[in-house]
Each structure stands twice: as C-alpha cells, then as structure tokens.
Symmetry: D2
C-alpha cells in the first residue's frame, strides 16, 4: 500500500471542537475535512446533547479507519446519530492495520465521577512512561497504549471539586506537547501546553465558539478567526461563555522554559492557507524560498538558457514561487515550469500489485512533463528531505526526461533528529541526513543530483515571526530539545 | 428488523476459553459458533501469544457486530491476526445500533500493572451500582456501561501481589451472577459465582484445557468433557496445569446462601445437546413435556379422532416429544405432526419493508402445514411465554389453517418476574403473566385459544436433578430472588 | 466454504411474479424469501412502472450474490429503486465466485423491438446447444452462458406482430424443462413446459395476480392459491386480466410425450408446507416414510428395548414421522427421538479455517444428543443419498455417541442418474449408487452402518397423486429420460 | 454528492489495451489509474488467457462503480481473477446511481459465433438511433442503452468469414466518434474513427504492445511511445504482430470529410504530461496562456503595484504560467501567486450534509490564501467556463479575501454548443455563453468580476499543431459539426 507523501514526516493529528451550534457535528465534519492533511488514517467525532438540568447529557460517538469522507459516508450518521450542540473531532495517523486494535482512535470517551468526558489530543507527552507507571501502581487500567489516555485518568483522580480544576490539575502534571479539546457534560474545554508546540486557534461562528488546529478549518465553515489559544492557556467554552460572548480563560502553571512552537509546522505540516503562530503559512513559506535562492542560487551559464525551476507538487509550490521571485529580483535568469504532474487519485487503498518495483511507486504519484525538462538545467525545490528515498526516485524519474543538469534545493535545514512532540518521524537511523552524518556531498551523491543545498537554520529562523516572545522548537534540525523525555519513545509503545 | 425469537427471553452471553492449543483462536471460533444461540448480536475473540520469559505477551483482539461467521468472515483474521496458544471469546446481545457505541462488546482487553488482562463475562452483578460509585469516587474512569468492567478495575486496584489473588479479591467484592473467562499474560482463568447461576464447564482437548458455557462447544471441536466448574470455584489453567494435566483450583469465599442454578437454562436457553448442571438438557426437557401431559392432558372426544400435537420449532421440539410419549403411555390418542415450518433464513438483517404489518412478521418465520391442521383438535406445545405477542400471532396463523380447536400447553410456569442474573427479559410490565395478573383465563383469551395450561413450578422442580446439594433459582417464576440487587437495573444503565 | 446440505442435489431456482400490486417488489421480496430453499447463492428482482400510454415503461433491476436478505438489505432499495406495480424475481445457485462473472444472475433484462423484457427461468432446456449454434450463425451475441437467454433471442427474432405470440413461438422452439415468468411493458407472462417438469402455481392477492414456484410463497404474503399453471400453459396477466379477474391462457403446442412432473420435488426439493402437482408435499412425504417402514422395518429384539428412530433435520422430519407412525400401527416398538441437533447459523460465509478436517465440517452443522443414542438400536431416516459423503460423516458422528446398532433408511430409491431438467446433481461418477453399481451391500459398508434400505421406485410412485393424467419424471432413479438432450450438459457450459 | 470539477465538461472515457504481456491486467490497472481523469465513476478490466490451439480462450471480467483503486482494491483480483497475457480496460462517467442499472459499465463482454469479444469505447456514434432501430427490427436484443453495444451486434451479424473483416465492416457502418480497443480470442484490436475525434496512441513495452487514450498511461508502466493510431486506422495486435514486432494495419473506408481532432482535449481534457495529436499538451496549454495575455492583458496602474495572477488549480496551472511569462516578456508587472488552495481529499463519496448551502460546496474544494489577495488587483486564469456556476462561487470566495479588483481570463473561447462526439456537456440551455447569448458583458456581470475576456477561436487554432493535414473539431465553440447526428441525443437515451 502506498501512502501519500510516504517520505514526509507525518503529523499525529488535527483536532476540532465546537460549542453552541445547532449542527455541531456537521460543522466538525467540515472542520475535519479541512484538517485531513494532519491525519489520514483514522477519524472520529463525539457529539453531546447538552442538558442544563445537571443530569448527565448523552454523548454520541462514531469513529473509524479511513478518510473523514469514508467514515461519515452516511449522511444519516451526522444528522441522526451525532446529535447535539457540542462536538469534538480528531484526525490521526494510525499505524494499526484494518483488522487490528482500534482502541487508539480518538476522541476517547469515558465516564467518571464528574460525568462524561471526551478528549482529542494533538502532541506527545514527554513524561508518559513515568505517569503511566505511577497510575498503574495505583490500580489504574488502560484501554489504549496512547499517552492521551493519561490525561483522562489524572482528571478522574483529581481531588478538586470543580471539573475545570480537575482538568487543570491533570494538565499541570503532564509535560510535553498537547493541544487539546475536551467535551464535558456542560462545556467544551480547549488547552495548549505552556510551550505551545502545536498550533490551536479560537474562532467564532454565529454565536458559537470553535477551536481548531489550523484556521483553514474556520474558513470552510465560514467561522471568523478570533485569536490563537495561547501557550499555557486553558479555555472554557460553556453556556456562560456563549452568553458573555467570551470564553473564560485559565493559566496552566508550568516551570517556565518558554514558548517553543514547532517550526516544522511552517515548513511542511500546516496548510499554506492557514494562519498559525501569528502569521500566514503562505507568507513564511514564500520567504523560505526567497532566502534559499539567496543562499544557494543557480546561475545559468548564459542568459539565453535560463534555468528551469520546478516544484514537487503541492507542498513545495509556495517556496518555489519565492525561489523564482528572488531570482527575478537578482536578475538570475530562471523560468518556473510545471515539470512534475501529481496524481490526486492515489488514496489509502491504492494497491501496488508488483511490490518489488519501487519505480512504479513513484510513478503512480508523479509523472514528468518531458518537453519542459529535456536538455535543460533543472532546479527542483522541495520543502524537506527525510529518508531521502522518494527524493531519490523522483530524481531518477526526472533523469528519464533527459535534463542537462539537476540541482536540488531544500527550503529547510537537514533533518537529523527525531521529534518527541507530535511528529511521526522515522527513527534516527533512517533519516538520510543523520545516516550520512550530515555530509551534504554524500547526500548529493545518494540522491544523484548535480548539486544540493539546504536552507540554513539561521535563515529558517529569519523567515518566521518573532513578536512578543514567540520562540520555536527546532529540535529536528538542531537536536536542542526544549523538554526532556522520560524514555525514548519507541513506536511500539505508542501504537501497538 | 426482525430478531429471531423476538418474544423469548434473551441470554446475555456465551463464553469460551482455551489454553495450550496451537490453534487457540480457531478452536474459539468453533466454540463460539456452537454457542451462537446464547448471543447473536456481537462477538469477539482475544488471543494471546504467551511468552514464558516474563515479558508482557502480545494480545490480539477482533470484535464486531453480527454473527460469529459474519465477524470472522476472513479466514486470515483467525490465522494471521489472532495468533497464539491461548484465547477467550464472547457472544452477546447488544442493544446498540450498528453505528453506535461499540464499547460494550466483549471480551474487554486492558493493561494494568500486572500486564494484559482480557475478560469475558456471562451474568449480571447485583452490587454494580454501589461498586461503580465507590470506584468513581476513587478516580476511576469507565469506558463502557457494562458491569463486567468493574471486575477489571477491582483486580487492578487490589493490593495483592499475586495476580490470581488480585482476581480472587475482586470476585469476592462482587455479588450476583458471573461465569467468567479471563486471559492473563501467563494463564487462562475461569470462575463461577458461589451461587452458580450460569453454567460453565471444563474440558480437555489434546493436552490443552477448554472452558465453555455449554458442553456443545466441546463437541464441535472434539474436546472431552471433564466436569462442571463448581459454584464458587476459581480455576487457573497455566503452563503448570498443562504439565500436571490438572488446573489449580481456588475457592471464592462468600456468605453462604447456597447454590442457585438458573432453572430457565433447562427450560429454554441451553441447547438440548448440552449437558449442564449435571444433566442432559434433552432429558430434562423431555421430562418437562411428560409432566405437562400428565398435569394438563387433552383427551380426544373419540379415539378415532386423535388430537394433533405440534411443537413450535425448534425450541419446544423435545418437550413436545415428551408430551406425546406420555400420551402413548396413558393411551391418550394423539399424533405428533409437523404443523409449523420454520424458516431458517431469517437473519439479523431481514428487513420488514412494511413495518405496520405484524402478521407478516410471524409469517417470515413460520408457515403452517395446512392439511395437517384442518378440522383437527390441535395442541401447541411451547416452552415458555414471555410477552405473549408472538404466541398470539402464531395462534392467529394456525387459525387460518382451520383447526377445530387449539389448545396451548407451556412446559414451564408463567413468567412473572424479571431476571437480575443474566437473562434479558422484558420489563415486568410487558410480561403477559404479570400484566394479566397471572390470570390464566385472561391470558387464554388474549392468546385466543380454547384452553391454556402451564406446567406447575413443583413439576418443573421435579424434572431437574437434585444431587449433592444442587439447588435452583426460580426467581422469574416465583419472585424469590436469592441475591438482592442494589438498584433496579434499568436497561439504560447496562447498555446505552 | 461450507454450503448447506452440500450433499443434496440442488435446485436451480425459485421464481416469483406479481402484476397489479402497489407494492409489487416488496411482495416479490417476501415471495423470494419463502422460496429461498430453491436457490441460495444469487437473487434478483426486476420491477416495472407500467404505463398505459404505449410508451416504454421504466424497468428497474437489483441483483446480487447472496441470500435475498443480504441483497435487499437496504429497505430503500425496495421502496425507492424497485418501483412499480409489476415485478418478477429469481433465486438461484450460482457456481461463480464472488468476484467472477455475474452475467448469469437472473432475471435477465433486455430491450428489443417490442420494448423491455425481463425473464426468470426455472429448468433446463434440452436443445440449448443446437439453438445456440443456430442463433450464433445468424449473428446473435450472447451475454451469458445460460440457456435461459435463448428464449429472449428467439422472442426478439420472431416475425409475429403480437408480443405474446412472439413468446409462444419462442417457447415452441425450445424443448426441455421450463417454468417461466416474463415481465413485458404491459404484462406479466407465466409459462410451464408441456411436460410440466417444474412446479408453478397461480395465486390471487387483493385484486392482483401472483405466480410462484411453490405455494409457500403465497402463504407468506397472504395470497390465495388459485390453481397450478398447467403443463403447456401460457398465462397472460395484464390490465385486462385484472379487470376481468382472470388471466388469459394459451396452449404451447408440443409433440405430445405427456406430463412428466419431477418426483424429486416431493422427495426433497419443495417445502413440506407447499402444495405442488395437486397435493401437499407434507402428505406425500409422510406416506413415503410409512411405506419405507412397511418395506424395510427394524423390529427390536425385545419389546422393552424399543428402537430409536431419528431424522436428519430438517428435510427428513416428515418422512420420519411417517416411519414411526407405521411402526405404531404395526406394533413395532420404536421411539422417535431428536438425536441430531442442527445448527441454523451456518450461512454461506461460514469459514472452515482447518480445511483438512472433514469431521469438523459435519460438526459445524450437526451435533448428537448423546444420552438418547447410547447403547441403543438406532434407525436414521434420510430422504435421499447422493454422493454419500455427508451420510458417511453423519454415521461416524453418531457412532461417537455409542449406539449399539445403526440402521439407515432412505425414503427414496438410489439416485443413479444425473438430471437434465433443472436439478444440479453431481456427475454420474460421483453418485454413490452409481459408483458402487447399485450394490446396496457395498454402499452399506461404505457408510458403515449395520443395515441399509432404500424405498423402492414402485412405492415411491404409490405415494404421489395420479389424478387426471398426472405422470412423473423418475429419470434420476430409473434412467428413463422423457426428453432427449442434444448434448451432455457439462457444468462448464452452463455456468462458467 | 459533490463531483470533482462539477462545472467542467466531462469526458466519456479513457481506454487502455495490452497484448503479449505476462501481467496484462496489472499493466491495465496502472494504465487506467493514469487515465483516471477521463472517467471517475465506473471502471472495468477484461483479461484473456489466450490459447493458440484455436479453442475459445477464457475471458475474465471485473467491473464496478468508483475509482480504479476502489474497484480493484483486492490485490488478488488482478493476480488471481484477471489472468492472461491480454487485457483491455475502461474508465467512464456513469450517471447511474449506486443501486441502479450497471449494464452500461464497459468493457462489454459477449460471445458470438466467432468466439469471445470484449470492447471498450471512447466517443459517441452519430447514427446510433438509426442503427439500433434497424437491428431491433431484425430481432436483436439489447442489454444496455449504450451506443457501443451496436458495434458488437454489427460484428456478429457480418457475413465476413474473417473476424477482423467482420469488425471492419461493423466500423464502416457506424459514423461519429470512436477510439476503440477490442479483445478477441486471438488478438487485441485498436481502431480510431476516420475523423480522429478522440486520441489513441500505440506504445511498446518489453516486446508487448499497448494502446491508450493518452501517453501518460505509457509513462506509468514505462512503455515507449511508438506513434498515434491514425484517424481511420484499424490495428491488429496478435501473436504474429509480436513476432514481427509490428502490428498489422487496415484502413477503415469512409466518405472523406477529413480529420477533425477534438481541440478541447488540448484545452482541458488531456493531462498536461500527455502528448496527443502530435504535440505535448503542456506546450499547447502554455501557448494558450501566452496568447491570452497578449490578446487581453491586465496592465497595472503603477509598476510598484503588480497585478496578482492566480490559477484555478490544477487544470489551469500551465496556461497561467504562459500568461505570466508573456507579461514578463512585455514588461507588464505581474506576480504569480498561489491564491487558491485545492483540497485533494474530495472524493466521490463526499457528503454535503447541508444541501442548501452552495457556498460550502465550493469551500470543500477550494480555499483562498488571504494575505496574497487582499487589496490587490487579481487576475484569475481558468481554462474554460461551462455553466458558470462554479466560477461564480469561486469569484464570491475570492471576494471574501478583499482584493481591490478581480479580472477573469479564460484560455479558450466561449462554449456555446453541446458536443456530440464524446464529451458530456450540459444541455445547450445550461451553457452560460449560450444562455447569455454570448454577451460577454452579461456574463461578466453574472460572474461578478471587474473584467472578463476569453481567448479568441483564431488564437486557439494558432496554438495547436497543423502538420500533415491535422485539422480540428471546434464544434463546441463554433457550432460547426463535422458529422451530422441522426437524432439529438438526450442523456436519457444513452444512460438510463
């Protein structure tokens, strides 16, 4: 089976929540559709029919393996099963097979002394193992192997009387990355860890409030962007918030190590039409392309023979535009061309009947436009290189179109370290930059290109906004982890 | 949708377990197939790849809605996914719809400090609400609304060091009905509550041990019946048990209120080819028919015009044979006929496109053999009457075949009380015998028959074995509940 | 995969038609459900929205592989897709796999100069190959490998102006067995070949007319039986027939070789609650049992030790009752017992994960009731033996219950010849009676029983009605084929 | 349900054929994947296990509704069911619902006197009704409502002895558009109508020959492009062709009205990475963009405020590049931006739970990149406008991003006439250019843009190659139909 962008890091999830809307689950469905790029293997929605009398409301849940549109195929599901004015949803990558354990699909939905609780989580907890062992000693049973379940247990065990304080206490006990939406019997609660690793934004729609990983989920339903949920903020959207037209906000106390937003969200994860961490992704990505062209230009030998610049569609399109525009500015003769066509019919279920043929794999996804490349000096702009395997196949494919030279430009630095805060990278050993010891020349040879250049970390940091104490996590490039982890997280531990 | 025997009480489940067999999940599949009559709406198998080194083994699970053969349609599931030498399985009635909450499908599979734990339960706990509240206060979260989950939490919270003692402690804290199979990282554990409400038997197959709700599950796989698991017994089948060729056995301590085996298992639930509570079900059922004929015979007006005795296939076939044989003995002229043909193609998914037509419902399941009934005095023998709705439709159907008279004989007493120990009866108000205040004449009129008689409770008790302190629960007939319940269990509480 | 009654001959199909009913497809659905035993692997319904203006009506079709209730799972299909006041339906055995060619599933639906035409056929044409070759020479293309398609081509090629005469001409060109329902733009047409091999009956329901293979399909929808469609009759049910309250009738001319109704319909195929060929199937089957007991009784050694008579459920239940009643009459001490329990959960999809284990196969379908058989002289009554493989396994299974002796009695003669008129028998070489050269002693040894007896052909003929020139085809027993075939029909030719 | 590009004309199909390859159906699967854009609602493959002894080979078929990857989900289907060294495949638009008549899904597979025949057709026959009536009079029955079936009947009725001549005779009887692949018991036959309306190319792969609608299907399997199948050519690929390394070629005689290749294939249908009618589609499309900028430039008021040029992804990307490059050449200050992001997760099953909300429909497919458009003069380049409904919604969406002005440029002339040669256009009345009587100002107002310009027909013709008598059909723009039709083809007639 071929997964889309199989050589890109994968985000663990996209989350969405809404409170106070008559068609809450329908809005969540659209929101998850807009966030589909953040998780394509499993999805779920929990809705709640709130009831103000204090009795437990009714929670409804539908979860499944596949794209959002596969799971909620039946119109009736949204309208009949997922009733209620509040809902949360989750997209994720699931490494489990179709017949395997589905216990890890979110949102998680449980009962405890405080009533119903449903939770959807984006991020990874770094003290997961320590907490799990502590809870196990105290007699807790676990249904999943997910770190997210920890938060539910901590909430249930809190001695606080108030439910919001129970949740706050739970969040103060965990470390690492979390952007969260929680549905309770009376409210929608959103929270973002004190480092702000993952994005989370607040919006408004017809008197209701919405929360989503990215603002593109607001656009699809016509919601208005209000502001980012701040690092360390706990937002309570309940009946009172609707009346007051403002959610209540608490601060999660934490040992101050400052804000560390994931810079890779700008490089690759987030959609270019989203605005995260205070800036449009498109704008940052265009700047990455410009600085890349500035740092590592390809100058044609003769002005009559401009270099051909192509992007790897669609993720590096914006950076490629930036790259070309910088050339124009510097009078470097180059021409943007569509050299690669991408098939958009490659879904999860695409079979590779001939397993051994690696070349076919890349060909089901990409084809070259031959006339454009032949006898030309070609620059490929890509946003990142992880394992390098797809890049290598791509270069091979482009070689068949007989360009004169191929130059590879990457709009981010070499990825050398795994992420512990919510990205699903291959292991350290599989990262080409780590494997080849960051030796650019060795990587160039392995990819089979005439030249190779990455954007420097300095320039990357120059491309992103730095207002009001914004700071970034660059661990995958620099190895500087802002939060230590209690144990190297093997994939098995998180997803069996 | 039409469910089979929709007017019969429904058993909550059938359970099966095996340890030490190279094809454990395949054997469990066949065992569940043989126990299909005990639960037809959902099913699941957990298998374990045991590992003697002490490290946690790998547990595999497949669960779903439908018949066993629907869920494990794919041969590969059993062979590839459900690996291992130990397995447990569960059939159940699920009141949840196809898109609803599947959290209540068993076996439950969790992790806790002692490792993996999977559990399948037949029966109802009577102190469920009290225990749940206590656990909730202590910070426990619940994934399901099932009482069975309680046992897992109690085990996890036990301070005992030894896992078997943890389970024993948990079982000593619960009251009510349970026949259980539990899979741990090193063993299969089987237990039956001190009253012995539900059946549970131990068998042997090629050096491995098997446990099942009924012995018909042993026959299908060629296992040999060893003995019943005794009321209050906790059996440990582990590697040592295999070597010793005998499981270890503990006693669950309990306030002595004695053995109370469910007499309705003999009347209707168990298969006639099973041996439960020390006796063949077939033999008991035949005796019920005899005593019924003795108590309430139908004597033909003339020996040349014998009465026609028909059964409601298939559940009352054996009792009907007993009824006729008693007639022979007493020289009452009667003739056994197949007056009703039952369709065996009516499955879970059978649609009733015309919802309002109640007659069509019974006709999709039964048809009369007209020549046999016309102008005859007909005796219908049925094993029980619950709501009375199907019986009434059946009588109406038979009337269309123009018999001279219709007499209805029931091989058990009137059902007047709900069951709190594992049968899914309608509410008290829906039971025809309760509704019509046990007035046989009123029930006769409602059914529209010429005479109606039930077997007396005394005769019912006379039909069942009474060796070595065997005693029976007759609560549904007598209202004498051997174990009090902490709260009237509404259906909502157990299956939302 | 295990098929039900895998050792019984299989009928090619059941057909149903209705005209003039507002819920025609719903009625057809129920009718096909009642005829499910005549074909369990594929099913289809064509409905027509008649329109009196002369313009072509709209025909709707839904077909699929599986049971009727699997294919029409979706309530909406019947109500929304299959609109109209006329419909025909078909159940069949399909030898094609789930992914194979579905072109042979009926009803066939085509367009020709006369408008729309849909056809459902039960039976086999004996001059199929000759006609197909003739049509091919004339430039006809074939979509299926089915003989039924021939009738459509012959109709389309007829030079008759009137559509009914076109169909009549087509039927006069074919020989062999056919009971047919045809839907045209203005009528439902039913026909039965001049020999009357397969049953077909006419009924009435609320002013509409219905036609079905067996009367049990009338009972389920509450239709009234009018009469059999006569051998050689062509019935036209159109708007006029509704107004006149009587279908028009034509005679299909044929070289007179007389009526040859399939006697095996009485022995095994038809449901006991149906009335075919002028008599109740139940009554005939009971008589078969009586004559069998008369011809080949088993007398117990001592009156205190009666023989135990058991049936192979459900198909031989009625004959077994007849067998026992004859014993009673003759004062042969015998006792009817339920010695075999049959699982009714074995569907098409039942997997046999251990393919090599033949014993498991019979065990998933049958189990013995042990106490009933142990140390007894047991008589098994079965309706027929085809290959003998299942009988052999059944005997083996019964042996495990340790009876003293096993006697096998068959309520029909040895099957020695294949059927060319619509039954799907194994090849001649596989028939045990043919293979062992009709040597009863050899068959007895192969089955492993203490004695074996079949009913004689004379007695079989004595059991069936003979009024008004009724005559029977006994070819499978006697080898006397009333209609010659143009070529030995291999299975491949009919179902590729 | 939302279909992709619901406002674009839809091509009737893509076809593929291969002969002489050990994995013929696997290659066909990949070929159909590459041709997915030519038909996304139904697909099928027929393979043949050729046998040289003259006996009929075995044909295998799998067809279904959905994307290629949905239908051939099961790896085993290709490897186990679709055996053989020859195969043909077809992608199509089906207007039938999921439960409706599937008889129109191609390839069609039939039997006739000459053996097996399977056919896949791209195009529309213009004398369909005349021929169908003639065949019906002669007694032909029709299984589908497709014009393609006609070719099979004509072949079967031909009196020619040689199969190739039978097919030739059939093709000489039909008029209109057809690119065909036919599988016989001994060969793969490819044909293209004398006007050459639809593309069809010949390729070579490891000693086998392949035929496909577009060359992108060769690229994916690594086949080498040999040449176009010529208008009026009938190619025979059989064992001899393999040995000779050249297919045999016949000429279909036709009244000479010359070559009329579909110019819309260049404008929108074909993939930019394909080479059709002797030229790369990418190159033509780029030229269309250039000439459009030349004819209807947008000059910024000030050089410091360049106009923003955006494409409607992905179909107008190439034309947009051409547009911008012409601006550069002419020193018109403009900047290419990615102003619209397209979701590639919108599949066939995407539900629109809120049917009435037309805006949501466009938002599930597109989102704007706000920063890029705000306060800017924006030029949208699209390849064509059909109904205008999507364009209108798109403009509305872009307006929400608050540009100063919106200018709409279309790289083809106004579409005013339906196509009778294989494109599925809306009816004449629905075409915006026809509806508004070609009044550009009226269309501009309806779309709500500040200016609107289409490419002229002259410039369109200037962009395409004209070597060696190449000529084009421009009927949808000009109304000049090169081949008359026998009856206005309503959609009902072709797809009921």
């Amino acid at each position: 089976m071929l997964t889309l962008d199989s050589d890109k890091p994968r985000c663990n999830c996209g989350i969405f929540g809404i409170f106070g809307h008559p068609e809450a689950s329908v809005m969540t469905y659209y929101g998850l559709h807009a966030l589909q790029h953040r998780g394509q293997e499993a999805s779920g929605i929990v809705s709640s029919e709130f009831n103000r009398s204090g009795k437990k409301g009714k929670f409804n849940v539908v979860k499944g393996i596949g794209l959002v549109s596969d799971i909620f195929k039946d119109d009736e599901t949204l309208k009949t099963v997922l009733n209620g004015t509040g809902a949360i949803g989750h997209n994720r990558y699931s490494t489990t097979g179709s017949t395997g354990n589905k216990a890890n699909i979110q949102p998680f939905m449980v009962n405890y002394k405080g009533g119903n609780l449903a939770l959807a989580h984006n991020g990874n907890l770094t003290n997961f193992h320590t907490l799990r062992e502590r809870l196990e000693s105290a007699g807790t049973i676990f249904q999943s192997t997910s770190d997210s379940e920890i938060i539910l247990h901590l909430t249930a065990r809190s001695q606080q009387q108030d439910q919001v304080l129970q949740i706050k206490e739970a969040l103060e006990a965990v470390t690492g990355a979390y952007s969260l939406v929680i549905l309770t019997d009376t409210s929608l609660i959103a929270a973002r860890d004190p480092h702000g690793f993952r994005p989370l934004s607040l919006g408004r729609l017809d008197g209701s409030f919405v929360v989503a990983s990215e603002t593109c989920a607001f656009d699809i339903i016509g919601a208005e962007f209000v502001r980012d949920v701040e690092p360390g903020e706990l937002l309570i959207v309940d009946q009172e918030a609707i009346v007051q037209n403002a959610p209540r906000s608490l601060r999660i106390s934490a040992s101050k190590s400052g804000c560390h937003q994931c810079i890779f969200e700008y490089v690759y994860f987030s959609r270019p039409d989203s605005r995260i961490f205070g800036e449009s992704v498109d704008r940052v990505r265009r700047k990455l392309g410009k600085l890349l062209a500035e740092e590592s230009p390809i100058v044609p030998e003769s002005p009559d023979d401009p270099v051909i610049v192509i992007s790897v569609p669609d993720s590096s399109n914006t950076a490629t535009l930036g790259f070309v525009s910088q050339n124009v500015k510097k009078n470097v003769k180059s021409r943007l061309e569509i050299g690669l066509i991408r098939s958009h019919y490659v879904g999860r279920t695409f079979i590779q009947p001939i397993q051994h043929d690696r070349e076919l794999k890349v060909k089901t996804k990409f084809n070259t436009v031959k006339g454009v490349l032949k006898d030309r000096v070609v620059v490929i702009v890509d946003d990142s290189i992880v394992r390098g395997t797809t890049s290598k196949q791509l270069v091979k494919l482009i070689r068949e179109a007989e360009p004169r030279e191929i130059h590879f430009r990457v709009s981010s630095p070499p990825i050398k370290f795994p992420c512990h805060y919510g990205m699903d990278f291959p292991s350290r050993e599989e990262l080409i930059a780590n494997r080849l010891d960051q030796d650019i020349e060795a990587i160039r040879q392995e990819l089979g290109v005439d030249s190779l250049a990455y954007l420097s970390l300095d320039k990357l940091l120059e491309s992103v906004p730095h207002e009001s104490g914004s700071n970034y996590c660059t661990a995958c490039f620099s190895g500087q982890y802002p939060v230590p982890i209690d144990r190297e997280v093997s994939k098995d531990a998180h997803d069996e």
